[in-house]
């Protein structure tokens, strides 16, 4: 009665379960749970085992009670003679029940705590691990894929830990216990039941396999239908404008019909499995009854562990057969349980495997040892200090134990940089750039020319060979990544705001910033004006990436966010692309103020944004083809000139 059936669609929405069970993963999962709750888990395990064993023995008592009854009837005696014996048997049974109930109740409670605690821990491990992954990972995997670790795979894991595994364990133990009890009573009958079990497994494999095949098909059809619906809903207004409704309906019908077909088949198989298995049990029951009856009539001598152990049971009698029939029923039920749970366990293991895959991902390497510290400059000598001074310095420990301090200025040099994301596909070739403190350097070029790649290298989202990029004269590979990035402010084209107030979002740039600092930053970015006009001003809640703001407004907030961090170097990657020219004119004053005194790298489509840069670098297919000031480039009448006069399309 938990989440999964409700979310059935989603849970099934995972990848089709691999048939191959990975033992290693299973063990690792179990070990991880134990490590999480060593005591609780031990108790739970013991309780489950004891409980399972106790649950399988009522049939023994039934046999004993009925034996007594049988005896009494045969002797023609009544309740008064045998009542006490029956009562004693009953009391023992009740005693066992009380133990079983107590253990069952405690075990379920513990399991609820363990499951949720374990899931929390796994989520945490995934998330923490993910924070340390290199950007490369996020570029290589789609958001949806990464998200499904947290939804589908965690769901599968939950299902496995809280339900499938315990049930699987319980059923297996009950099957084993019953098997021994059955052997205790009668070897022949047990063998017959075993024959039935083999049959059940075969049927499960055939029918279950069919269901599995079509469930995979259904999954694929669901994916296709969802993709279709998403595309059409996104383009719904175009559909309306072109009166394309009828054609859109016809296309949809085809996809929908296929999904129906697959879903129908998959569910048909799945729905049929239970009645089939249950009734095989009934047939088995009849066979046992017939043979048992025949044995009784013919007084066949019984072979069993019980008889060998000398506990009577040498001849078939009614009580034995009745009890055995009861056991057969229980045995079949549990076998059915086991075959039902296998699929779910396999799915859980597949989920666990993916969860571990994410956890095992190599985190971002960082061999940097140069750190950023607060500093004080007295007579040109820089000393480190604890308090915030707004003067920063690079603390550079050397191999010989000495430590030198270099003042943070924002001098960035790229020296003949080559780079490729994929082997054999160079993205940057022989790129050299010199940005002096306070200079504004602009990158212009078509999509894919390598503009963003350069910024990816400066903040070490991607690493290149040693010594090619230097920051204040220091090889950036020696700088600790966190400190390097703290010294750089970045505003990206795809603004990402987080759920929270506008103020929270601005403060993201500097967590200990006061409200006044945030507002000052917003003013600098030209965002203050519109923020004040929002319903709750700076306390307006932003949700789903600031859906209640326009793209231009989002960009302004993200500029303010970078401004409050007050870094010596800023990278603006299409930061104002969605602000219309009129608004940009207003913002540009703020932007100028923001850029003043900083080294700034600007990437922009809109040439009016880059015009006043100290250097404009025109990139084409990863190479610098022109560089110089706006005036100089216009004079050259090269590519930049063509772009500027609108004779060339950038995108």
């Amino acid at each position: 009665m938990s989440r999964s059936p409700m979310r059935g669609g989603k849970a099934m929405g995972g990848r089709p379960p691999k048939r191959k069970m990975e033992k290693g993963v299973m063990w690792r999962t179990i070990k991880a749970v134990f490590k999480c709750y060593p005591k609780m888990m031990t108790f739970t395990l013991i309780f489950i085992i004891i409980n399972a064993i106790i649950s399988s023995i009522p049939s023994i008592f039934m046999e004993r009670v009925f034996s007594v009854v049988d005896k009494a009837l045969k002797a023609g005696a009544g309740w008064s003679e045998y009542g006490t014996e029956i009562t004693w048997n009953m009391l023992t049974l009740i005693g066992l029940y009380v133990i079983s109930l107590t253990m069952g109740a405690i075990d379920k409670q513990l399991m609820a705590i363990i499951t949720q605690g374990f899931l929390k821990k796994m989520r945490g491990r995934m998330f923490d691990g993910m924070q340390n992954l290199p950007i490369k990972y996020f570029d290589a995997n789609s958001n949806g894929d990464i998200m499904s670790y947290y939804t589908n795979d965690i769901d599968a894991l939950r299902q496995m830990i809280s339900q499938s595994l315990p049930q699987f364990l319980t059923s297996s133990i009950m099957v084993l216990t019953l098997f021994f009890i059955m052997l205790w009573y009668s070897l022949w009958l047990t063998l017959i039941v075993l024959g039935g079990v083999v049959f059940i497994f075969i049927v499960t494999k055939i029918v279950g396999g069919g269901a599995g095949k079509y469930f995979v098909g259904q999954q694929r059809a669901v994916g296709k239908t969802e993709g279709f619906i998403e595309e059409m809903m996104n383009g719904q207004k175009v559909v309306k404008v072109f009166c394309h409704e009828e054609a859109a309906k016809a296309d949809f019908d085809k996809v929908n019909e296929h999904l129906y077909d697959q879903s129908n088949r998959a569910n048909r198989y799945a729905n049929m499995l239970m009645p089939i298995l249950g009734n095989i049990g009934h047939v088995l029951y009849v066979i046992i009854a017939l043979i048992g009856g025949a044995f009784i009539i013919n007084s066949v001598s019984n072979i069993s562990i019980g008889s060998l152990a000398g506990a009577g049971l040498t001849v078939f009698n009614i009580a034995l057969v009745v009890a055995f029939l009861q056991m057969t029923r229980q045995f079949c039920n549990n076998i059915n349980q086991v075959s039902n749970q296998i699929n779910s366990v396999v799915m859980g293991v597949a989920g666990a495997k993916r969860v571990f895959d994410l956890i095992d991902q190599q985190s971002e390497a960082d061999d940097g040892y140069v750190t950023l510290v607060n500093a004080r400059e007295v007579d040109g000598v820089i000393t480190e200090c604890e308090e915030r001074t707004d003067v920063w310095a690079w603390k550079h420990p050397h191999g010989d134990g000495t430590v030198t301090y270099t003042k943070l200025c924002g001098d960035v040099v790229l020296d003949e940089v080559d780079f490729e994301y994929e082997k054999g596909k160079p993205v940057l070739q022989d790129v050299s750039i010199y940005a002096k403190p306070g200079q504004k350097v602009a990158f212009v070029g078509a999509t894919g020319a390598g503009k963003t790649t350069i910024t990816n290298l400066i903040n070490r989202f991607y690493d290149i060979a040693d010594g090619k990029i230097r920051y204040d004269g220091i090889n950036i590979n020696k700088i600790k990544k966190a400190d390097l990035r703290r010294s750089l402010g970045i505003v990206l084209q795809d603004t990402n705001l987080f759920t929270g107030t506008v103020m929270d979002n601005i403060r993201y740039g500097k967590l200990d910033a006061t409200d006044e600092e945030c507002i000052a930053a917003a003013k600098l970015a030209g965002a203050d004006d519109f923020i004040r006009r929002l319903p709750d001003g700076y306390n307006t809640m932003l949700t789903s990436n600031g859906a209640n703001l326009s793209q231009g407004q989002r960009q302004l907030v993200s500029i303010a966010r970078a401004a409050v961090a007050d870094p010596p170097v800023m990278i603006l990657d299409e930061a104002t692309s969605s602000i219309d020219t009129r608004t940009e004119a207003i913002v540009s004053r703020g932007m100028d103020a923001l850029m003043h005194g900083r080294t700034v790298f600007v990437i922009a489509h809109r040439l009016s944004t880059v015009k006043n840069s100290d250097v404009i670098i025109v990139l084409d297919h990863g190479r610098i083809i022109e560089r110089g000031s706006h005036e100089k480039l216009i004079e050259q009448k090269g590519q930049y000139y063509r772009l500027y006069t609108g004779a060339f399309e950038l995108e």
């Binding site: 938990s2 409700m6 669609g9 039934m62 049988d70 009837l73 309740w79 029956i86 009953m90 009740i94 029940y97 109930l101 409670q109 399991m111 949720q116 605690g117 945490g124 998330f127 340390n132 996020f138 998200m147 947290y150 239908t225 619906i229 719904q236 175009v238 309306k240 404008v241 072109f242 009166c243 394309h244 859109a248 729905n271 009645p275 089939i276 009856g293 009539i297 009614i318 009745v322 903040n459 989202f461 990035r485 750089l488 970045i490 990436n545 993200s558 961090a565 219309d580 020219t581 009129r582 608004t583 489509h605 809109r606 040439l607 005036e631 216009i634 772009l643 006069t645 609108g646 399309e649």
Partner: protein, 591 residues
């Protein structure tokens, strides 16, 4: 709500009825089977003094196997019909939703938002499908099972049956109580869980921001906090639910012991009138009764949980399109005249401000009109009224001399072609995309339209030419190429009015000019309305409309406006800022 949903069952009505029918038969079989089993056991029973009656064993064994097969058959049929009915119901629901949305007006679409429409057609339908499956199988099976089993206990056990009657109410009450207590908790925790997942998504999407600001540890702490909260709530809810099982077990054990004890007592007291077989089968019935109670409470919770999804689906099905064709609609648009007669418009009745106010505008067929204005000045709103994407709140919009409300929508929109600002290409070849404009267009016509839109050249440059496959969302063509394809698609409609809503923003100025030149030369009778950011795109228009804050600020030619209208002048000068050298001809920004 049920009435609305039930309409979607349609051709699966038979399966929907047959499924519970066979479920009922299956239940009857399942309830009779223990009865026959007890007979079978009794025939083995030699206690009554007789010998084992082998012939009886054969007879009952035969009956039992026949019944098992019948039960298997009924069960399998019930399962198959249930699968068909629920999958079919889901299919029809999806279809109805999709068809409904096709008939939605822009206003309806805005109201629901695209992601929400998608979820309703996918996740919500799946949830309802699952609930429907429960409803026509489990929800029928459990109560029937309970009633039949109860009857059988009386048939077989006589007064022992009262034990079960006594047990049902307290157990049902307890299960219901647990469900009632747990459900609001689950509701709450699911919401929190969704929020948690949303914040993970946010984190993944914003990973560059997180890393740039070195906020990894901050994010970890934030996450841990939220995850712990979810864990606490989940544990609380699950711990309540975890009582279900022990309670069931308690009652089961209780019933088992009582039946066993009293059963033996009765057998001995009655000297064998009640039989061992009967008592042992009573226990089976007891099990069935309790299990079906458990199932029932499960079904109950599942159904309640899917109510939310059902409600969201019904919301769409019940939504009436705000714009429909009138009766006796006019199907012919005479010419490209456009008139706005004192038009005002607001997006919803509740809105405080009008998006358009007092617009009085008259455009003659064949005119070229440019529209300029800042973000939020309602340029798009203005043109959207022409093809009746929205209805004017006050005043009347006329095309070809008639109110747009008089036209058949298809006829109107085929005559008024709009290239939307947020335009979309669909996965399929270029040809397929172009034929949205005219399904019967010949290849030559396609090429001709593309030539006008200056798209032919780059299409010919593709290895597969006009058969090039466009990926979903048109991601494999550049922004400028996409815009030109969209223009060509609109041209194929051979419209009387052509509206370009900021549709050449990514096209370079030269090509932009060529497109406008082609318009002038090849479709002179068509009324052309061009919304643009760049003044260069509208300079040569017959008239330029300046929009500001939902009102027409000025109308005039480039010459009339430049230097006189402050907005136009400002936009023009920012875009054509005279640099040191005055080489600037038409240039502007290249977004």
């Amino acid at each position: 709500m049920i009435k609305v949903l039930a309409k979607s069952v349609r051709e699966y009505k038979a399966a929907s009825i047959l499924s519970p029918f066979f479920v009922a038969l299956e239940v009857v079989m399942e309830c009779l089977i223990p009865f026959i089993i007890s007979k079978l056991v009794n025939s083995i029973d030699v206690a009554a003094g007789a010998t084992v009656k082998m012939s009886e064993i054969w007879m009952y064994g035969g009956i039992l196997i026949a019944m098992a097969f019948a039960s298997l058959l009924f069960g399998a049929l019930a399962g198959a019909f249930c699968a068909k009915a629920s999958a079919g119901f889901a299919k029809n629901l999806r279809k109805d939703l999709y068809y409904k949305v096709q008939d939605f007006s822009f206003e309806n679409i805005d109201k629901f938002s695209t992601p929400s429409l998608v979820t309703r057609m996918t996740t919500d339908v799946t949830n309802v499908q699952f609930a429907y499956m429960m409803l026509i199988r489990m929800a029928v099976r459990s109560p029937l099972m309970m009633v039949f089993s109860l009857v059988m206990t009386f048939v077989m056990g006589g007064s022992l049956g009262w034990i079960f009657v006594a047990v049902i109410p307290p157990l049902a009450l307890l299960l219901l109580l647990i469900a009632k207590k747990a459900m609001p908790l689950f509701h709450r925790v699911f919401k929190k869980y969704d929020n948690l997942n949303e914040s993970i998504q946010e984190n993944i999407r914003g990973m560059r921001v997180v890393k740039s600001f070195v906020r990894e540890d901050y994010e970890k702490k934030k996450f841990d906090h939220a995850a712990t909260d979810v864990q606490m709530d989940f544990t609380k809810a699950e711990r309540i639910l975890a009582w279900n099982h022990p309670i069931m077990q308690f009652f089961f054990y209780g019933v088992l012991s009582t039946v066993l004890f009293l059963g033996s007592y009765f057998i001995l007291r009655s000297n064998g009138a009640t039989s061992v077989g009967e008592v042992s089968q009573l226990i089976v019935y007891g099990m069935q009764i309790l299990m079906s109670l458990m199932m029932l409470s499960f079904v109950f919770v599942m159904l309640i949980m899917s109510v939310e999804s059902a409600r969201r689906i019904c919301e769409i099905l019940a939504e009436e399109s705000t714009i429909t064709s009138p009766e006796n609609a006019v199907t012919e648009v005479e010419n490209g005249d456009i008139d706005f007669n004192d038009v005002s418009f607001k997006y919803s009745a509740a809105a405080e401000r009008y998006a358009l106010e007092d617009v009085d505008l008259h455009i003659k067929s064949g005119e070229t009109i440019g529209i300029i204005g800042g973000t939020g000045s309602s340029k798009t709103t203005l043109v959207n009224l022409i093809s009746r994407l929205y209805d004017a709140t006050e005043g009347a919009v006329c095309v070809g001399g008639r109110n747009v409300k008089d036209y058949d929508l298809t006829a109107l929109r085929n005559s008024v072609a709009v290239v939307l600002q947020k335009n979309e290409l669909f996965s399929g070849t270029i040809k397929e995309n172009l034929r949205w404009g005219d399904a019967n267009a010949t290849d030559e016509e396609l090429v001709e339209a593309c030539k006008l839109a200056q798209a032919d050249e780059f299409i010919q440059g593709f290895p597969n030419g006009y058969d090039t496959f466009i990926e979903q969302g048109g991601t494999n063509v550049s922004g400028g190429q996409k815009q030109r394809l969209c223009i060509a698609r609109a041209l194929l409609k051979k419209p009387k009015v052509l509206i370009l809503d900021d549709s050449t923003s990514a096209v370079d100025t030269q090509t932009d000019a060529l497109i406008r030149k082609a318009f002038r030369e090849y479709i002179p009778q068509t009324t052309k309305i061009i919304i643009a950011q760049r003044t260069s795109s509208v300079e040569d228009a017959d008239r330029i409309i300046i929009m500001d804050n939902g009102k027409i600020n000025a109308i005039g030619t480039h010459k009339q406006l430049l230097g006189k209208n402050p907005i136009y002048t400002e936009v023009y000068t920012t875009q054509n800022k005279k640099s040191n050298d005055d080489m600037m001809s038409g240039g502007g920004d290249n977004e």
